[in-house]
Amino acid sequence: MATKINATGMHYKDLNHLVSSAKDKDIIIENALGHRYIGSSAADKNIEIHGIPGNALGAYLNDCRINVFANAQDATGDTMNSGEIIIHGNCGDAAGYGMRDGKILIKGSAGYRAGIHMKEYQSHIPMIVIGEKVGDFLGEYQAGGRIIVLGIGHEDECPVGSFCGTGMHGGAIYIRTEHAPKGLPVQVKCTDASPEDIEAIRPDVEEFAASFGYNADELLKSHFFKLVPNTANPYKQLYVNN
């Protein structure tokens, strides 16, 4: 059995209480419209959202799977610990802000600052896949995890905005394109992805393809760039001579 919740006219606090206290594992939320923090206080739930969820969807998420059948707003997956957020539309700014583990799959485009300050620790390695384009400051201050931008439908241009990887010091960004991002900081190294790199992201792309009806093999046949911090040129003497 699934618990159905009609969110019309409901405050987010009440909605989130109903979600976290529901006895069923499966929860279907209808008519979401700007309700914040959905799923943040829940654990081990399978949440389906119809309508527009509010900011900080799945913040601090623990072991939930959230499917959004619309666009998502800002700060999706803020500091999420584990679980999966699957967005069958576009996503606003700062997706995966400081995320610690888990996955965010976005069928369409994401706004500015996707993956800002993602981090990883031992086996906790977060991952974001963006189907189409992404705004400026992708992976700003990225400290860990994988960000994959597929650029589907935008094969003639670089699918990432300006100032990509500003302050990046960990993790990796993979971009499916023939057009390398311009103006990367000197502390970021951009190379053609190797066959090993492609194999490393294969499970992520397969999951994306399975979620939204794409062919992973076709996508992975294309050229990818890989961005990682440039260990030969670390951040030093940015502010003072030390």
């Binding site: 700007g34 309508g51 900011n55 707003q73 576009n90 606003g92 700014d93 400026d136 311009k182």
Partner: protein, 371 residues
């Protein structure tokens, strides 16, 4: 005595919304109230406000002054000033509804006025400049009087409270216009008081703003050299005066103003030198000549003016903003939910890039109907 910007800090975002019917259809004020109410948690009850365009068709050639008074003394003093400088065609209290959520209201009056031709002639100013200077004079010189709306066929309605309550207080369902903007306030630095609620306006320019201007003092010092006085104790006011100065006085286009206040980075201008040297030279000129009008810090704003709306984000896009369309309607809001709340099946939802202005004007049909 109210403390000025910088003298007080209230440890505590904001919400903006707006829409326009390009063909000039009449839109009821209750829609903009509904839209902003879906972003309730972006405000904290310390300010809400609205601007409506095309709302006074019966007085469309007169300046509509909306004024807050702290006392009847301030009102009498202001009315004497108005009588000396204007032909006051109509005056009344602005109709409000007493509700528990809105308290401590000042006296709120509305005047439809025509500047006296003899006074304009003797001032050697054009009409708009004459009116603007009168507004600045009242706000600066008369203690306890604030003209918070001064354009033709438009009006600002604002108060301390949540925006949905402010809309109910001012009975906005009784007004219809071709464009509306709204603001929900969450003050972070400055006092929550009636004059400090958004929109901020001068003549028909209105600004609603989500953000915080780091460059406020630099902008204020520059703009005050041209006769403006920042009297309303908060940063957004200066943006209104920058638009008035650059658009009305310097005849800069709105696109050019966007490249002054949200100027591209030097690195972007350098890159442009190869592809479009003419544009690069212009941008360089703006950055050099008008560097004091660069607005830094996070902002998303909607400018309202006679015949249109403009939306703009800071160049780093540190605040959210989405734009959408449906037929002749264009919607702008901090969050998509605020648009879907009033138009569920809206088309072309997009987030403009940082520093990319979105300018929407009335169509020819809309102009015929509304202007």
């Amino acid at each position: 005595m109210l403390l000025k910007e910088g003298e007080i800090r209230i440890p505590s975002g904001c919400a903006i919304s707006g829409f326009i019917s390009r063909d000039g259809h009449k839109l009821n004020g209750s829609d903009v109230v509904k839209s902003i109410s879906y972003m309730h948690d972006r405000s904290n009850g310390l300010g809400g406000g609205f601007a409506g365009y095309g709302i006074y068709p019966e007085y469309k050639d007169l300046y509509a002054f909306h004024v807050f008074y702290n006392s009847n003394t301030a009102r009498e003093q202001t009315e004497r000033f108005l009588d000396r400088h204007f032909d006051v065609v109509n005056l009344s209290r602005i109709p409000t509804k007493k509700i528990p959520a809105i308290i401590n209201e000042p006296l709120i009056w509305r005047y439809f006025v025509n500047p006296l031709p003899t006074k304009i002639a003797s001032s050697q100013l054009d009409e708009k400049e004459f009116v603007a200077q009168c507004v600045i004079r009242i706000n600066n010189d008369i203690d306890g009087a604030y003209v918070f709306s001064s354009g033709k066929n438009m009006g600002v309605f604002k108060a301390v409270g949540f925006p949905e309550d402010v809309g109910e207080f001012y009975r906005l369902e009784e007004y219809e216009g071709y464009a509306w903007t709204a603001h929900g306030r969450y003050p972070t630095n400055t006092p929550g008081w009636w004059g400090g609620a958004h929109p901020f306006s001068l003549l028909d320019y209105t600004i609603v703003h989500n953000g915080e201007i780091s460059s406020y003092d630099a902008n204020r010092r520059f703009i005050e050299m041209f006769g403006y006085k920042c009297t309303l104790l908060t940063d957004t006011e200066v943006i209104t005066y920058i638009f008035d100065y650059l658009n009305r006085k310097q005849n800069l286009s709105l696109e050019d103003i966007a490249s002054v206040i949200a100027a591209p980075f030097w690195s972007e201008i350098d890159a442009m030198e190869k592809t479009d040297p003419e544009k690069a030279a212009k941008l360089k000129y703006f950055r050099n000549a008008l560097s004091s009008l660069l607005i830094t810090g996070p902002f998303s704003i909607i400018l309202g003016y006679t015949g249109g709306l403009m939306a703009l984000n800071d160049r780093l896009k540190l605040r959210s903003m989405v734009v959408a369309e449906k037929g002749d309607m264009v919607y702008i809001a901090s969050e998509e939910c605020a648009i879907r709340a009033i138009c569920p099946d809206v088309d072309n939802i997009r987030s403009p890039r940082g520093g990319e202005p979105v300018i929407v004007n009335l169509s020819e049909e809309g102009k015929r109907k509304c202007l």
